[in-house]
Structures are given as C-alpha cells and as structure tokens.
Amino acid sequence: MLRLASARTGGLVALAAIVAALPLFFPNNFYYDVAIKTALNAIVCIGLNLLIGYAGQISLGHAGFFALGGYASAILTARYGWPGLLAMLAGAVGVGLLAFAIARPVLRLRGHYLAMATLGLGIIVAIIINREIAITGGPDGMTVPRLWVGGWRVSGAVAWYWVAAGALLLAVWLSLNLIDSTLGRALRALHGSEIAAQTAGIDTTRYKVLVFVISAVFASLAGSLFAHAEGYVTPIEAGFLRSIEFVTMVVLGGMASTFGAVAGAAILTALPQLLTVFQDYKHLVLGAILIGVMIFMPNGLVPSVALSLRRLRPPVPAS
C-alpha cells in the first residue's frame, strides 16, 4: 500500500514540478496560450480515460459535454449576469444530471452501438448549439465575460496558466485516487469481463453510470474554464471532430494511464500549434499518427515506453 501511495505522489510531484518549471521556457504569451489549451484538453482526457481506459466503454460524443459546460458558463454569465463560479457549477451539475439520465440506456449498448449512440448524442448537441442562434450566437459563437474569483479578476495568459495548471493537478490527483478506490477496482474488473464482475457481486451498471457521469463532469468543467480563458466559445467545440480529438489524445497517450492522457493531450494540442508549417497537412499527419500508433503501439505511448524502460532496467532484488 505504502509503495503504491508513494508511486502515486511521485508522479503527481513530477508533474507539478514540470508545470512550475515550464514558464521559464516560455518566450511569449503564445506559449502560455498553448499550455492553457493543453491543460484543459488534458482534464477532459483524464475523465475520458477513466471511461475508455478503465471501464472499456467508448464515447465519441464527449465534446458535447465540453461544449455544454462552456456554453453554460457563457450564457449564464453573459446573458443572465450570474457569477462565473456559480455558472460553472450549474453547468457541471446540469451536465452531470444529463449524463446520469442518458447513461443507463446508452451504456446498455456495446461496441459499435455504444459508439453510434454517444456519437449521435454529441452531434445532436452540436446541431442545437449551431441552430439556437438567439441563445448561443449560432455558428459565430459568443463572447464570454471574464471570470471573477472572489475579488480577483482572472485575466491574462499568465494568470490563466496557473488556474489551468492548478485545475489539471487537481484532476490528476482525483483520477489517481479514483483508480485506487473501490470504483477503480470495479471498473478494471468489468473491463476484463463484465459477466465475471457481475458474478463476483459488482453492480457493474452502477459503476459504469458513475464513471460516465464523472467523465462528463470533468469535460463540462474543462469546457467552462476554456470558455472563460479564451473569452470566446464556438460550436466547433461541440463537433464530432473535437470528440474524435479527445479520444485520439487518450488513445495516443495510452489507455488506462492518467499520465498517458496528459501526455496525449500535450502532444496533440502542442504539435499542430507549434509547427505552423504543419497547418495545411494537419489532418494528414493526425490521421497517419492515429493509424501508426494503433498498429505499432496499441497500448499507447506512455504504457509502451514504460514497458520498454522496465525491460531495459535490471530486475530489482527483493528486499
């Protein structure tokens, strides 16, 4: 137990150190902006990883939850004058309730049917956001007021970097603890064999619903932060391609690995931004990476690299 706990804290401390040191290498605000986007994408991926990597349930519609969070913050603060944190909380509760309501019929489905259902839900959300122009601003999107926390107005790339980084560390810590809890063990059991898990007395439906709701709430909160940080939100955030992007990040980084989800988000957010020459070939390269990783590293980057490192290292004598 003690060793597990220390490994967990070790990873978290390392991540915190990286996050704290990164600004030393940032020459301008553009880098902060990319880092903020990376952190917020990573939060979505950490939640999604619980669902895909641990519970073995795919979702091709999580951008819908992300966008709902973003638009909840945008609409409640801009049109109704709610305080930012309250709007964020309301968005998260609303998305959580929505996820809870649809989880049972959705998660009863498997494989391709599950993919289709989550994909359909995401697309319906995207179309509604696109069409309800009076409320959402339609395809042009809408501006989002600045976030106030108490008397502090969060503005500027540097301030947002620390907020996003703090939220990321919190998400990682939560995820690591969840994985080590009853929930995490139940999820791994049902990933292996749902029927075996049921036979062992695990209420698989309850845990699947729970993890679906958790991942949706992660996405919603990240979406709210994203809307405030960018000061702008558009229906693209709800789109099918955005959902695919999230899944890709999880799978690229490594399924069933919290740090893998963070690494995947970092790579796929930062690469196209930093290599602007890339822009025209963005889709070509993204597609090739997806196929290549799935063929050669089906477990994803972080677990594959970790495995080969472990093979290199001589076995530790038992103490």
Binding site: L109, R131, L284, I291
Partner: protein
Amino acid sequence: MTKSAAVRHAELGTASVAEFLQFLFSGITVGAIYALVGVGFAIIYSASNVINFAQGEFVMLGGMATMFLLSGGEPLWLAALLAIVITAAIGLALNKFAVEPAAHRRGGGASVVTLIIITIGASIFIRGAAEVLLGKDSHRLPAFSGDQPIDIFGAKLDPQVLWVLGALALAVVGLRWFFARTRLGKAMLATSCNRLAAELVGIDVRMILLASFGLSAALGALAGILTAPITLTRYDIGIMLGLKGFCAAILGGLGSPFGAVAGGLLLGIAEAMAAGYLSSAYKDVVAFVIILAVLFLAPGGLFGAKATERV
C-alpha cells in the same frame, strides 16, 4: 360548399400533393446515397466485424476523383469508371496497410475501440490528402442526361435522380446475384456466418476481407459520382455522409446489406419530410434522433435478428 370553395380546395389538394411528392423525391434521392453508403458498412461489417468509419470518404473520393479526371480532359464515362477503380484501390490499400496489420497482430486481434480509431484515422488521413491534393473548393459534376426537370403531378424530378435510383436498384440486384451465385459472394457469406468454419473449409478469409473493402469502396464511389451533379461535392462531405450511412446500416440491423438499403431510404425520407413539414434547420438531427430511439428501444436494429450473446 360553394363552387369556388370546392375548386380552391381541389387546388390546395394538388398543391399539397405536389409538395408531398417533392419532399418524397428529395428524400428518396438522399436516402439512396445513405443506402449505398450503408451497404458498404454492412458488407465490411459482415465480412470482418469492422465498422469502417472511412466509408463516407469513399463517396467523397468518387465525386472528387471524377471531377479531377474530367478537368484533365477525360470523357465523363471514363472519368467515372477510373474514379471507381481508384477508390476501390484506396479501399484495398486501407485494408492492407491499416486494418489488417492491427486485426491480425500476433497475440490476438485488436479490440473494437482500436479498429474504430484506425478507421477514423484513415478517414481523417484521406480527407487531409484530398484537401491538400484536390483543394477545398466545392464542385458540381455535369448531369448525365440534362438538367430539364420532369414534371410529375406538379412536382419536379431531376433526371439525375433516376440515375441514382437505377444505380441503387442495380446494386441491390447485383449484390443479390453476387451473394447467391458467385463463389466469392458465397465465401463472403460463409465468412460472415462463421469465420473459423469458413477458414476450415479452405476459404481465404484475408482475401474475403480485402474483397469486402474493395467492393464497399466501389459502391461508395458510385454513390459519390451519381449524386455529385445534384448535391455538390467537397473534400469534407464524407463526414456527415459516413455518419448517416452508419445510421442506415444500424437501422437495418448491421451486417445486412438489404436492411441497410431499407434503412437508408427510410432515413432519407424521414429527413426530407421533417425538413419540409417541421424545421429545415433541424434536418440533420432527424437521423440521429431516430437512431437513438431505435438503439434505446430495440438495440438489434429495426430489421436485425434478436441475438443472444455467448459468454
């Protein structure tokens, strides 16, 4: 009822009949595309249990390649034929270089999630390649037999629609013949029934998988070429078409080509009716709402058999 009221009523009647027919025609046209895409999903799925998310890209490739060859000076029929061959070759390559290496990896095949991501990756790749090579503009192919619409009870029917419907009918008849009469077709059916048993009687299952990708790609390209004169073609039309075709295939019970045809036509008509009578803004929602309702109420699809899963 006075005479003038009766006449007005009759006029209103013909007007609404014409309107209904108009919606029906546009529904059948769109439905035929969904049907052809859905058939592609069904063929690959029944041969390999793979859902090919790049199916919509074949439709795009068919239209775009024809356009490209036409602008290079080829006659329409040759351009169309070449486009089908090129798309089929891309379908074969997709299987050979992306799906097969993952599906037949040493130590067990890939999971559903892995294969879904591979085909999504392939669709993004194909779209990206088309974007770079063929550009981002919309294109319209010339109609095959003129643009003069045919008048049927006051509704206008684009002659190109007859081409689309004819091709769909031909495809259905052709597939029936293919699965019932040819060696390859029968082998494909056998593989979809029981892969191991098919392998034991000497069927080259990999070959079947390859053929299914080629056939699906060719059908998709055909749909793309025939509809490009009616709806525009663009490098990114494949996303929505692929998703709607997937809806059609699921509605038809996944793995049944003829179920997919029925599902596609049904979706197209429902979509056109909803756009005409309810709200055109929410036209694209219809297919997904229907599919969610079906999945929640009858997870096996409308025309799917009830199956029990073995543990």
